[in-house]
Each structure stands twice: as C-alpha cells, then as structure tokens.
C-alpha cells in the first residue's frame, strides 16, 4: 500500500491485489524516521483511475467476441491485471500516534515514499485507545478480533440503536441488557412487540442462567396498579399527557384526588363515585368520566389488594442485577401511554427519593408511546437522576435533533435510505461521509459503533450470537409447505 493523496481529513491510499482491505478497517501509516504514525479508517474502496483502463476494458470486450490465444512468454499480462485491479482506499484520519501512544492529530503528514502502511487490528486499536477497561462486554467480532466494550461506557450515557428492520437491533439490545445484568445492573425494558419475554430461555426452550433475574410484567395480566399506591403527580401526568385532559377538568380532578386522599379512600370505585357526585360543570364531569372509564377499561388499575406485584417491589427484586420487561404487546396506544407514564413517573419518584440508585432503560420504538416532553426530560433531568436510556428504533427521524445532540453512543445497523442516514450523520460525532458510506453496505448483524464507547474511533462489529430464545412466536400463514389453507 502506498500513500497517494490527502484532501482535508481524507487520505487516499493505493492498494494492490493481495492487499485487500475492507470498509471500516483501520490502517496505520507509520513514518519510521519521525516515530509518528497516522491512524486512518477505510470508509470506501474505489478503483484506481489508471490511464488506459478504458481502452483495456474496451479491448477486452472485443476479445470476448473473438476467440484466440495470447502468447505472453514473459507473463506481462499478470502485471497488467495487477495494475488494473489497483484500488484507492478512501480513508478518514481518526488520530495520530507518537511512540505508540495516542496523541492529538495536528496536520502532520507522513512521508509519501518512506512511510509504511499496515493494517491496524482492532485488538491493537483497542489497546491504543485504552479499551475495553474493567467491565468488558464482548459484543462480537471486528475484522477477526474480538470486539469488547466497557460496560462503564454505557453508564450514565444516552444510546441509540438504529437500523432498518431485520438487521439485528433487538439482538444487540438483548445482548447489552444481559451483559449489564451480568455486572449487577438493574434494567427496565419497554418491550413493544413482546420480543424480550423469552430472555430467560435458551434457543432450545430450556431456562438459561438469567431466568431468575428476568421479570416479565404484562400490564392488565400480572402487572396491575392500585390507585392508592399512585401519587397525585403520576396520576396528573397520566390524565394530562396520556389522556389529554384539558386544564379546567385537570384542576377538578386534582381537587377530587386531594379530597379522596384526605379521607384515605382512594380506589377506582371511590374515584368513580366522587366524579359522579362532584359539584362541577357537566362538561367537566363528562370529560372526567371519559378518562375515568379509559383507566378502568385499561385493566391496568385495580382495587384488588392481593395477587399483583407492585412496580416498586419488582424493582427491588432486580436491585442486584436483573431485568424488568414491561410487555406492551397487544396494548392499545392509549394504554401504552398510560403505562409508560406510570413507569417513568414511578422511576423518577424513586430515583428522586434515592430509593433507587440508577436504572438502565431500554425503550423499543419509543415514539409510539413516549410523549413529546418526555424525550427532553429523559435525556436531561431523568439522566441526572439516574435513568440511562437506550432507544431502539428503525425510524431515526422520529427522534428529534435535540436528542441526537445529547447522544453518547450510536449503534448503527444497515440503512439504505439516504434520508435516514442523513438524520443520523447530523447527530453522529463523526463525519457524514463515514456514516453514509459504511452503513449503507453493512450486512445484517453488522453494526457501526460510534461514540464514547469506541472513543470516537468508529468500529464495524459483527454482533455475536446469543443463546436466547429471541422472538415471541409469530403466527405465520405459510408454516408448512403444502399446508392446507382450510382447517380440516
């Protein structure tokens, strides 16, 4: 490989057959005399613009129509092929090293003729970057080296896992969830498709080592909430944000709640009676009743005392490491919003009162249940309280720019749409060219890791297999070849 050109932060390197380099790989350009080196990442591989190639190709196309024999006793045609197959590696400068240590790159250029260009293995790169640190999480493989990140680099951070459908986002999310559990972290998963309910099982259906650390809470089934345990603030948030109760009605609801609280008789039944008998405008009463029946019909609230685990108790069970999966599958959009308001309200309240140290929150397709104001809240106020969120989405444009700017780590899977990539590249802490050129060609289960976890040295990783029963059973039509359409 030879150093060819530098334009801005882009370095062009000539590579010849036998020196194949893949997109995303790292190279080190070493200048022996100065003891310095440049770390560059290949973001694109192009054909070298060799003079005469067009003529050669046209002639070869004529040869395809002509049968014949070449007598080339000195084997020069192999040299022609060698030159024709020369590639230009488009690389981005990621950093510089001096005497083997990472240093700030200050427009230094290695010698074009004397410098030596070598592949930089991910192991070596990680060593230079001082990774993975004390809490390693083996995420997968990067160019034949194990790729390990530090769990501490997810602590207190905002992460986004994004990519188009079927590329492996949830798989990575599960891997991170279980790895955090390994280090005793409490994790809450807002599971919109019921994809995490089998986390405690191996692929063959047997229980795995996480079985006892995973708690599946299915609202209206094994997860119901007693109104008495719910604070006014949480109820007001549910009424105003999830159920869009207007201001005047909200004030009446607050009075009713305070009144019932003073009598220590808060229950669904009592709330209904109070609304019925409350002296207020009829339209306000109608508004309150419509919300009341929504709460009743959600099945999430109950007056029953026993048989259900409270969210607070559930959190206690995972305080030394575990996962609470809130199964939002089959929930209506209104119910989802009610449940999420409740969960986040509860978490905030527990964290504020220091009853809970910190929690990792994994939110799948959060735009489907998270109200507008919560986005900013999650990444600012709640983050400081101790909720460290990972958003998982296949619609990156549903996350606002303001959120992206706060993002610490992005795990980017394949996207073919330029629009999606544009959204991410605006937020990623690297140049848009890298995002666009690498992410577009990522095969399934390959992910471009960007951000703090890789010290801003993007790495393409093949996510490792996980012996976990991944999906809930999806009902399929074509289950068996030749299966009868009609039940016999």
């Amino acid at each position: 490989m030879r150093l060819y050109k530098k334009e801005g932060d882009t370095i062009k390197i000539l590579s010849f057959p036998g020196e194949e380099v893949e997109k995303g790989e790292y190279l080190i350009i070493e200048d022996g005399e100065s003891g310095r080196g440049l770390i560059v990442q290949v973001i694109d591989v192009q054909f070298a613009n060799i003079p005469g190639v067009l003529e050669e190709l046209l002639r070869n196309s004529a040869k395809e129509l002509t049968y014949g024999e070449d007598i080339d006793p000195l084997g020069i045609s192999s040299h022609v092929a060698y030159i024709e197959d020369a590639r230009v590696l488009i690389c981005k400068i990621r950093g510089a090293v001096e005497d083997g240590r990472l240093c700030v790159y200050r427009s230094w250029l290695p010698s074009r003729f004397k410098s030596i260009i070598r592949r930089l293995s991910i192991n070596r790169l990680m060593f230079i970057l001082g990774l993975p640190g004390e809490l390693p999480i083996e995420v997968g493989e990067a160019y034949s080296s194990k790729f390990i990140l530090n769990a501490k680099d997810l602590d207190g951070k905002l992460n986004i896992i994004t990519g188009k459908k079927g590329t492996g986002k949830s798989h990575l999310s599960k891997l991170l969830v279980l790895s955090l559990v390994d280090y005793g972290a409490p994790v809450v998963v807002l599971d919109i498709n019921g994809e995490y309910i089998n986390l405690g099982f191996k692929k063959n259906g047997e229980k795995n080592e996480y079985y006892n650390k995973i708690l599946i809470l299915t609202p209206s089934e094994n997860f119901k909430v007693n109104l008495a345990e719910t604070s006014l603030k949480i109820m007001m948030d549910i009424m105003v944000y999830a159920l869009e109760l207007p201001g005047t009605s909200a004030r009446e609801f607050q009075r009713i709640w305070v009144y019932l609280k003073s009598k220590d008789t808060i229950s669904l039944a009592k709330l209904g009676e109070a609304i019925r008998s409350w002296k207020c405008n009829e339209r306000v009463r109608d508004a309150l009743f419509s919300r009341y029946y929504t709460l009743v019909n959600s099945g999430f609230f109950t007056d029953e005392e026993n048989g259900f685990i409270s969210f607070e108790e559930a959190l206690k069970t995972i305080s030394c490491g575990g996962v609470i999966v809130i199964n939002l599958r089959n929930q209506s959009s209104t119910n989802r919003r009610i449940i999420v308001e409740y969960i986040l309200g509860k978490l905030t309240s527990l964290l504020s009162s220091k009853k809970l140290k910190a929690i990792f929150l994994f939110a799948e397709e959060a735009h489907l249940y998270l109200r507008e104001t919560y986005w900013d809240d999650l990444v600012t106020r709640m983050r400081h309280l101790g909720i460290f969120t990972t958003f998982i989405t296949n619609q990156p444009d549903t996350i606002r720019d303001g959120i992206y700017r706060q993002v610490d780590n992005i795990f980017l899977f394949n996207f073919t749409s330029d629009r999606d990539l544009e959204v991410i590249s605006r937020a990623a802490r690297i140049d848009s060219e890298t995002v666009r050129l690498i992410a577009k060609e990522l095969p399934p289960h390959y992910c471009l890791v960007l951000g703090y976890v890789v010290k801003d040295f993007p790495v393409v990783v093949k996510i490792r297999e996980l012996d976990v029963k991944t999906m809930g059973e999806t009902r399929l039509f074509f289950t068996e070849v030749g299966a009868s359409v009609y039940a016999s």
Binding site: I50, G52, T66, E69, I71, L74, G75, S77, H79, V80
Partner: protein, 365 residues
Amino acid sequence: MLLIDQVNYSSTPTYNFPSLLEDHGFSEKLIEASVISLESITGKKLRLYVEDSISSDEDITEATITVNSIEQFKVYTLKPIREPTSVVGVDTSSIKIGETENGIIYAFRGTIVWRSFNNYKYIRIGPLPFHITEENKNDIYNTLKRYYLGLNFSRGAPNVTVMQSRICSLLEYWLQKIACRMVKNSLILWDGSLIANPGDCSSIVLPDLLKFSRRKSNVILAFSKVSKLRVLGKYITDLVFGFKPPCLLEVRENSIPSLNPLKILGRIYVAKFIEGPFIFRLDVDKNLDSEEVLCAVGKLIWNDLMFQGYPETLRLAHILSTFTATEVMAIQKFISETYGLKIVAKPDIRKLLFGPYGTGLEGLT
C-alpha cells in the same frame, strides 16, 4: 428415401496458428533475444517517457509521392462477390518504454486475426521488451533477421532510435510469412503499403512474401489509414469524395515518379467502401491484373465486416496489437521487478526552460 438434391457448400479452411508458432520455435529465439537484451539493464535507471510514450504504428515506410496529373486515374465500381473466402489480418505495434543510461527499451507485439465460420480468431504474440544499445543492436537485428526471415547476410543495424521500427517490421514480416504459409485462396490484409526500402530488409522480404502469396493463390491487400500520396498538392484520398461507394480509384503506375531508392511493389488504389471520410489507400500486388484486384476486393466486402469502411479483421489485429497506458506501466513494473531497474521520471527540459510558454497546446490546459 432418395436424396434427390444436395446443396454443395464449399468448406472454409481451418487453421492452427498456435501450433504453427510453436513448431517454428517461436518461444526460443525471440524470447531469448529479448531476455538477453534485458539482462544488460540490471541495476540501471530507467527514465520514463511521459509524453509521446505510445507510439503510433501508422505506416512508417510510406514515402511522400507526388503525382503530377489527374488524368492518370481510373475509377472502378465495386460489387460484392459472394464467394466464401478466408480473411486474415496481420498487424504489429511497438512502443518506447523508457531510456537507460546506454540504451532504449522498446516493447513489441504482433497479432494475426482471421475470420472463420463468422467468428474472429486471433493469436497474439507479446509484449516482448527489448533493451537496445549500441553494443547489442547488431546482434539482435542480425539474429532475428536470420532466424525469422532466413536472411543470412549480416549488415550493420541502424541507429538505436530506428531499431524500434526495424524490429517491429521484422516481427510483422515474420507474422505475414506465417499467414501466407498457412492459408490458400485467401485474402491477407496488411497494415501499411507495399513499398520496399533497400536500406532495410523489406526489399528482399516483401517481393518474397508477394511471390509466396501468389503461389498459394492468396491476395495481399495492404491498407494505409493515412496516405502521403498527393496529386497536384492534394491528398489522393481526397480525390474520391464525389464517387459513390463502394469504389476503387487506381493510380496508374506510369504516373508515379521514381522514388529512388524506394521501390513500389504494388498497384496503388484509393478505396472508398462507404460514404463519409473513411477513405484508405490500398496497395495490391503489382503482378495481379485489375480484374483480379477487383475480384479480391469484392470478396473482401462480402466476407468481412466493413464497419466505417475498414475491414474488421484488420481493425481487430490493430486493436489487439496496440499498447495501452496500463500495459506500458505493467511492462515498466515487470522490468523493474525482474531486473531491479530503478524508475526515475525524465525531466521535461522544455517545461523546465519555458514553464507554461512554448509547450504547445498542453501549456494551455
């Protein structure tokens, strides 16, 4: 059941050029001469030619001929003759690869293309690089002449710079000889003219090749893409603009002045096969009469593709022979790797002296 009639198809001859080349020990002398010449460059420096590196293989032997009278022309209208006839095209190419301290490195390549059963086939020889110096030029020239053309007399080789065209001609004659030997009743297309120069071996080889060709009932048709032949100051290729193609314009022999010491061995025609600027000079063996020439050209029109008025067989021979810039780089790479030649850029003295001035059009870009 009785077979009451059968269409009588004449079979098209088939050839085996590759084995023929092997039979003639091709891989021995030519490669040997090339390799021996290259051994002398070990450890030297090669100065590259940036400009004019790809030489044109236009007819370098055609001399300027001035015809004084327009009366001396006769125009023939051509008709395709539907008689299956094999068409063989021969062409060679050479290129200057660079200069060493004591010589010049050239590369050579030659191709024979033939049309068989509506398919084109070819055999291509080369590239063969030669390092020509004042010390080895005689050896190389005389060895190749003796071995490939059977010319046993030794003669001093020309200047090193002229050796490019001489070796190229030797290779071309040898391939033409092979083509003549292998086919009969066929059309053999050459690139260039039928003019012999006593200064090189063409004055001996060309008459022999024509004679040999006649013996095998082959007709040699030599096409020149650019002609220096002029009539009253105009190029003869411009004279046929008004005529309807396909046609041949014959330049009568008696109208051509003596070109001493050059010897014209062919009848000179201007060939126009299609409308447009695609007009070529065509030289045909002087010993054939006009009827035979018209017949041969008529067969060519019917048996070969005539895209842009030029025989496809010869076009392919040309395309396959010429060197591309990539190949030049590949040859340089081969030489530098195999013989440890150090490649250095040749300084452009003109640019060094005058900068952007005086470099012609290039200076404007």
